[in-house]
């Protein structure tokens, strides 16, 4: 399923947690500057696949991966691939907002500092631009040095997105980014996702089909570790080619 406009490609990827096979021979291409949603019932492997994309699965014991994943044509499991650099270019936003127990400013500046930026003026600019891009600046501009823990859940999640943006990634992976948020905060994140695709490629895992329908351009439907169907969002929800996809999106199981 190689596409010309793809930035990230999985090529026959299988993954085992010990004896347990979580991903089965998955091949797909993530199109650049588009939002791709992975949907499927609990345990179908969508989060595992997402974690493979920036090698977070390396951190789990007894994991074995077969097949290859290419990011801009480079094999991310190549011994020459610097995993810190990889995770800078492919950022991750998690289900529960997880700000560092520090100031709003430090949350954003942390990444750039790790990557060697210490100039105050430069950091100020990065903090501002990241917060603006995450649609949070107007709400926190006058309290940048307050603790991030004092923000609401939705604000914390946008802070986490801003923190990801601060290191200038190319791809942002989001694992159920709204499931801990109320509808208003969810709608803000969804609007933000739509804005982000101008500069970034977004891959989002969600169990909320309506959310996938609202925010994504492409959808991959997974079931029992397999990628059942991948295609443009409107087609998947209007006229899926696979009976299994139809049964899932119409709520017959899952």
């Amino acid at each position: 399923m190689q596409r010309d406009d793809s930035i990230l490609t999985a090529d026959h990827v299988s993954l085992y947690y010990g004896e347990n096979q979580a991903l089965r021979d998955i091949s797909l291409s993530i199109p650049q500057n588009q939002v791709t949603a992975l949907i499927g019932p609990s345990g179908c492997g969508k989060s595992t696949l997402l974690r493979c994309f920036n090698r977070l699965t390396d951190l789990v014991e007894n994991v074995r991966l077969e097949g290859r994943i290419f990011f801009e044509g480079l094999d991310i499991h190549d011994p020459d691939c610097d995993v810190v650099e990889l995770r800078k270019r492919i950022g991750m936003v998690f289900q529960r907002p997880n700000p560092f127990p520090s100031s709003i400013y430090n949350n954003i500046a942390y990444g750039p500092r790790v990557h060697g930026i210490h100039n105050k003026k430069m950091l100020d600019t990065i903090v501002r631009e990241s917060l603006e891009a995450a649609a949070l600046w107007d709400e926190v501009a006058d309290r940048l040095h307050d603790s991030a823990m004092g923000l609401s859940g939705g604000q914390q999640q946008r802070l986490c997105i801003a923190r990801t943006l601060a290191v200038e990634p190319e791809i942002i992976l989001m694992d159920e980014p709204c499931s801990a948020l109320d509808p208003i905060a969810t709608s803000k994140i969804e609007n933000l996702i739509n804005d982000l695709k101008e500069h970034y490629t977004v891959v989002i895992v969600t169990h909320n089909m309506q959310q996938a329908a609202r925010v994504s351009d492409f959808v991959g439907f997974m079931y029992l570790g397999q990628l059942i169907e991948f295609g443009p969002t409107a087609r998947i929800f209007k006229n899926p080619q696979e009976e299994l996809t139809n049964n899932y999106v119409t709520g017959r199981f899952g």
Binding site: M209, Q210, A213, I236, F237, K238, N239, P240, T245, N246, V249, T250, G251
Partner: protein, 216 residues
């Protein structure tokens, strides 16, 4: 556990099927009343227009409710769009039945010209087309509607035949004009009903297969 959503989807389908029987019944009763010169039966059909409209509205409300509450997807979404479009087609078919019924009284004073020409035959063909389209909807099997385009061609031909024949009767005797114009109108109504049967067939195909086909 009863799945409320699936129940309501099924209820919608039942409503559409009932409306199908009701509307097609209006059309075929109107044709019977025309043939038998039975103004009383025609009056009953005319009165059914009220229930036809109520049913039409009830289906639309049920479909809107499903969309608003359950955000249907894929085949369910196509089924609801199909129900809405069938609802419109069936409403029009019932209304044409009413229009034909309205003409019956004026055509019942003396024997029909040319024994009604091909109108009863045309009426039967159209009703069969509608019924087959409804069967395809009920069974979600598109076999009964596969030859629909061809059957619609026959109906179109009959309409022109009735038109030409009416013109000869009108030229023969100007006193025939009023009645012959009614026959031409009825042929036109029946031809439109055939088109609606094709529309229903197209919708059912899309609902079942997800593919767009053009019937006629």
């Amino acid at each position: 556990m009863v799945n409320k959503y699936r129940e309501e989807l099924k209820d919608l389908k039942d409503l559409v099927q009932e409306q199908g029987a009701f509307a097609c019944g209006m059309l075929s009763s109107a044709m019977t009343a025309l043939q038998d010169q039975d103004p009383e039966l025609a009056g009953q059909v005319y009165a059914q227009r009220v229930e036809l409209a109520e049913r039409n509205l009830a289906i639309e409300e049920a479909a809107l409710r499903l969309i608003a509450l359950y955000q249907p997807m894929a085949r369910d979404l196509r089924a609801i769009v199909c129900a809405l479009r069938m609802n419109f087609a069936l409403f029009r078919i019932g209304r044409y039945g009413k229009d034909i019924a309205k003409l019956v009284e004026g055509l019942s004073g003396e024997p029909h010209i040319g024994n009604l020409m091909n109108l009863p035959h045309m009426g039967n063909l159209v009703c069969t087309m509608i019924n087959d389209a409804l069967t395809a909807y009920r069974t979600e099997d598109i076999k009964p509607i596969e030859g629909m385009s061809h059957r619609d061609d026959v109906v179109d031909e009959l309409r022109y035949a009735i038109f030409r024949e009416s013109v000869t009767y009108m030229t023969e005797d100007p006193r025939n004009i009023t009645r012959c114009i009614d026959y031409v109108m009825i042929a036109r109504y029946l031809e439109r009903c055939g088109d609606y049967a094709c529309d229903i067939a197209e919708q059912v195909c899309y609902m079942v297969t997800g593919e767009r086909v053009e019937v006629k």
